[in-house]
Symmetry: none
Subunit: 208 residues, 4 copies
């Protein structure tokens, strides 16, 4: 029995290490520019071994994405824990998202690239469904807070999920814009200040 457990454990560890290495490379170089060879070399495994753990390059990439989303959801859970007022919840989620970007830039970018990138083909339905569910989960944290604001009549009645999309999209867009190759030069504010501004503007804009 113990022998089997050990095997399972070791598999998990190895899988983790592969993802760890891949994360850095994918982030630094993008999906296409990163080769399975590079990843293999970085984890000090053979190329063939990678295929024992992931069906193909796309699934490896997408698995990474899934991990990132899980992590983000954990952070969102922490962010709303103990908060009772919708404004506080939204503010807290906003900063948690920003902090997640700071702490896990690779995940943040991979996450984004996935939705607009070249990856969708070649991954299994199962994996895709998991990603989808995880995305809904994230948005729920936001829409729940918004729904609270509506229920106590502090926000104009509307579909909470749509408003959640607006909020999430706004923050994401601002971060990505700030990250853009050439824009930073003429933006006087730091990203932190930009985030502060946008959270203020959005919450202010939501209120009746």
């Amino acid at each position: 029995m113990g022998i089997n457990e050990r095997r399972v454990r070791e598999r998990k560890i190895r899988r983790k290490k592969i993802l760890e290495a891949a994360k850095v490379l994918f982030f630094e170089q993008g999906f296409s520019a990163t080769s399975m060879n590079q990843i293999a070399r970085k984890v000090e495994l053979s190329k063939g071994t990678l295929y024992l753990y992931f069906k193909n390059k796309e699934e490896l990439y997408t698995s990474l994405l899934l991990e990132g989303m899980a992590l983000l959801n954990t952070e969102f859970a922490k962010a709303v824990a103990g908060k009772t007022i919708w404004v506080e919840k939204l503010r807290s989620i906003g900063w948690a998202y920003y902090q997640f970007f700071l702490d896990h830039q690779p995940f943040f970018h991979i996450n984004f690239q996935f939705h607009h990138g070249e990856i969708t083909k070649n991954i299994s339905d199962d994996l895709f469904q998991k990603c989808y569910a995880s995305g809904v989960h994230s948005l729920n944290y936001i829409s729940n807070a918004v729904a609270e604001g509506m229920s106590i009549n502090e926000i104009h009645d509307d579909d909470p999920m749509s408003v959640a999309i607006v909020l999430w999209g706004s923050l994401t867009g601002i971060i990505l814009l700030h990250e853009g190759k050439d824009h930073r030069k003429f933006i006087p504010d730091s990203l932190e200040k930009l985030i502060e501004k946008s959270i203020d503007i959005l919450i202010q804009g939501l209120k009746k």
Copy 2:
């Protein structure tokens, strides 16, 4: 002679057709996943011919981008023309941006991809400078309107360009999020309604 003029005209037409084909493919598949071969096949020209019109893949891509930015700036110019109140200007710019997305989805995406991609190498300095200038130009339309609002004390005093980034980023993020491969399914609102909401929220949020 007319002969030379015809040649110039034909060159322009062909160049246009190449860009047209490339636009679709780059949009559908992204930069890396699109090959010069595919583009050539789509315009029914030989691979070699592409290189008579564009120095390399990157310049072809960037030329596309530049066209898109010029187009957008034209729309922004039209949008603010005749408007005297900052709120109207911002609203109008917002809808122009949305309309631009509807009319030129490929451009919209290519534009965005550029700023976060690996394209910058291999293109001439001249081309890069033009792109940069064009980007600044776009943002100026927004920041000018914001500056007006500040000058008449209707917006909290701040750096107008930073606020412009927040606005631009928000709309972009929302559109991209909506476009995301898997999200549309559970968003009840159409993109149009989302845009309306976000413009309302953002303008409301800006006001003192």
Copy 3:
């Protein structure tokens, strides 16, 4: 009538100019690395025009070679003119060869490359025959001088042409060796001194 003559004259001039441009490029970059496009640009003619004057790249290259050989033969003729003693003739030819190398390095190299290079295919029999005849012509200058030495019993009786090959080959080999990418560093003598030495050695060696 005059109109036709002018045409012929102009053709010759243009042909000359093409060869002139090609000579420099072929020498600097080698046969394969030089493109017809480069040559066309250098003479400020269109690519197509080149093919009106030369059947293909190889024939252009070989025509160049033929010119070089003609030039060399002229120099050899001058070198032996007025000399009556075989030693003087050989010495003079040797220095003329060296001088030809100094003055027409491109020709010298093209000449050599031809015989051991990648060119032979694709050229017309006629052109090939001309090159062959020109080569024999050059060697005759040397073998004639050698034959003289034999006839007055100052050189061991032998086949003069074979001896000519030895002399010609020796000088060519020394020059090429000296020109080699990495040898010059540790050769204390200048090429001129090397040539002097080898002429001395060879003539000394020939004498009974």
Copy 4:
């Protein structure tokens, strides 16, 4: 385990086979005119496999060269072994060079082409240094013999290396000339006789 040893052995064999095929093609067609595809087809391997054994085309070519030089140096070492008189040494080296040409024509030509080609770029410093050192090594065999002749006053005092260049260049030039595409036809002597002649002439010419 034997498994690893077998792998190493097999790698060596395959490497050898690639070099073998490349040698013939490079000799027949020259560097530029030979494609990796051709080599691959000749060894019945895929193009990609070639790159598992050699970093690029230039390194493959240069590796070939290096092997040839090592081989030649072995022959030179054998040639001078047991010889005590400088004349004998030179004669022996000369014939060893000729024999090397007979046995390894491809090597002989590749060796020579290297020094006047466009290969130097794209190869590692290490490989280049090895080639350089090997070339010097070869010349030393000759210059040492010459130096002996000078030390016992049988050769005019001079720089031995310069004289070595003259000797080496002469023989090389003669062989190459004889090999030239069109010359052999009218040279009555076999290459062997030419070599004999030239060795005689050169040694005779060296003596005081």
